[in-house]
């Protein structure tokens, strides 16, 4: 009995706060704060990382690309996870907003994955002497990129948005299987790529002086990407809810 009441309350809560309208107004309020604070953090981290950290013993100064590459590849995967989770929310609870969100994450994710790949390739030239290697980590990031492209083109090829949303959700959940493979691939298969610099469970493999700016860069970059996702989701809401009254009033 209590459980049923709880479920009803939660459902009400979700439908109240997950309405595109509420989301839209809330997001508009936090957007400028988020943008400027994360921009400040990111720029500080980059300046710190590029000019004030000591140079790496083995890789020389080229290691400074880490401050761009690592946050980007981390975000590329996290965005995919976020997209799958919100797809799952859409399929289970039929929350429209979740579908908008997962659709709007896809182009951002594709961009970030692309620049992660490119920066990785450029980093590879001075350190490994090759810009591309068919090793597991790089290949799986490429897979991630193709996955994003596939999702976007799948959604774009249907005129009926409801159908497109559902198919998108199914594909992104199935593609989620890729994420653990990407995460673990470095450990499973011997490769050129170094193991992850930072893990939650173990002591970081790099020096503290290099680590702090890296953490800062990650936080700042996440904030920036969150801003991009917000913008992208606003595009989706404008596109999909354009017949609704509240949005006409808003504009």
């Amino acid at each position: 009995m209590l459980r049923e009441i709880l479920i009803i309350v939660i459902k009400k809560f979700i439908h109240q706060f997950a309405s595109p309208k509420t989301y839209f107004y809330q997001v508009n309020r936090i957007y400028p704060w988020l943008l400027y604070i994360s921009l400040a953090i990111y720029l500080t981290a980059i300046v710190w990382g590029l000019f004030f950290t000591p140079k790496d013993f083995v890789q020389g100064n080229s290691y400074r690309i880490i401050y761009f590459h690592v946050p980007a590849s981390f975000i590329a995967q996290s965005l995919y996870a976020a997209m799958s989770i919100s797809s799952l929310v859409y399929l289970v609870w039929k929350v429209k907003l979740a579908a908008y969100l997962s659709r709007s994450i896809a182009p951002v994710g594709a961009t970030i994955t692309f620049i992660a790949l490119v920066s990785g390739s450029i980093w590879g030239i001075p350190t490994w002497g090759t810009w591309w290697e068919w090793d597991a980590r790089i290949t799986s990031t490429l897979i991630l990129f193709i996955m994003y492209l596939g999702l976007i083109s799948l959604h774009n090829s249907f005129n009926n948005f409801d159908k497109a949303d559902k198919l998108f959700a199914y594909l992104s959940i199935i593609g989620f299987v890729q994420i653990p493979i990407i995460k673990k691939s470095v450990d499973w298969w011997s490769s050129l790529h170094q193991p992850a610099s930072i893990t939650l469970t173990e002591k970081p493999a790099i020096d503290a002086a290099m680590l702090y700016p890296l953490f800062m860069a990650m936080i700042g970059f996440s904030g920036l990407i969150a801003c991009l996702v917000i913008l992208s989701s606003k595009v989706q809401i404008y596109k999909r809810e354009k017949t609704k009254n509240w949005i006409k009033n808003y504009v």
Binding site: A136, G150, L154, G175
Partner: protein, 218 residues
């Protein structure tokens, strides 16, 4: 609907359409025959390069075999009819994939391991190859069916783009399997891994595919 009826239906549909099952097998044999002709080198290099060619041609043949696998039933209204009259799409999809594997996957696997001897590898490696080919053709079929169901009415370009990322990890495993067979190390580990993958996706994917098809019918 009873399983036996579904089986009968899928058998009629596949067998009476000769090009649907004979075509892929013939293409496979053609690749296997044509490939040694294009390699004008010693027998040894032929044997070395055989496995990648074999796996890729298996992949391509399975892609051919699943081309428009649900499209026909979708367009003539059979799926709609099945759903409204209370049939199970899960069962129909499961059996459809199984029947396709029996009539395309099994012959291709057998021919593949026969051609393996022809390429200069040992008969023992052929015996090792056969079960892994049987399993991997089934996995390929399921994955291509998934891609095809998503891009049901939108053609094979989209389907391929969607399926490719799912296939690449599978190809990596097959690449590792090649070394395992060549040097006979940890072969059964990989075989068990393949069986594990198959046993999971064999039952889950038809359910997802049937959900996707229902979405298309809406």
């Amino acid at each position: 609907m009873k399983v036996k009826q579904s089986l009968k239906h899928e058998l009629i549909k596949l067998l009476k359409k000769t090009r649907a099952w004979l075509g892929p097998i013939l293409v496979f044999i053609l690749i296997m025959v044509a490939y040694p002709l294009t390699v004008e080198l010693t027998n040894q290099s032929l044997a070395d390069a055989f496995f990648p060619v074999l796996f890729i041609s298996c992949l391509m043949v399975m892609m051919l075999a699943t081309e428009g696998i649900f499209l026909e039933d979708y367009e003539d209204g059979s799926l709609e009819h099945l759903l409204i009259t209370g049939g199970s799409i899960y069962q129909s999809v499961f059996i459809k994939i199984l029947v396709h594997w029996c009539f395309i996957g099994i012959p291709v696997s057998i021919f593949g391991s026969l051609f393996n001897i022809g390429a200069g590898n040992t008969a023992y490696s052929s015996i090792l190859l056969l079960p892994s080919l049987l399993v991997s053709t089934y996995i390929f079929l399921i994955l291509f069916c998934f891609g095809n169901s998503l891009s049901l009415t939108k053609g094979s370009v989209l389907g391929t783009l969607i399926t490719m990322p799912l296939l690449l990890p599978m190809l990596v495993i097959l690449g590792k399997l090649t070394t395992a067979i060549m040097f006979n190390i940890n072969y059964f580990g990989f075989l068990i891994l393949l069986f594990g993958i198959l046993s999971i996706i064999m039952f889950i994917f038809p359910a997802i595919i049937s959900k996707i098809i229902k979405t298309h019918l809406e």
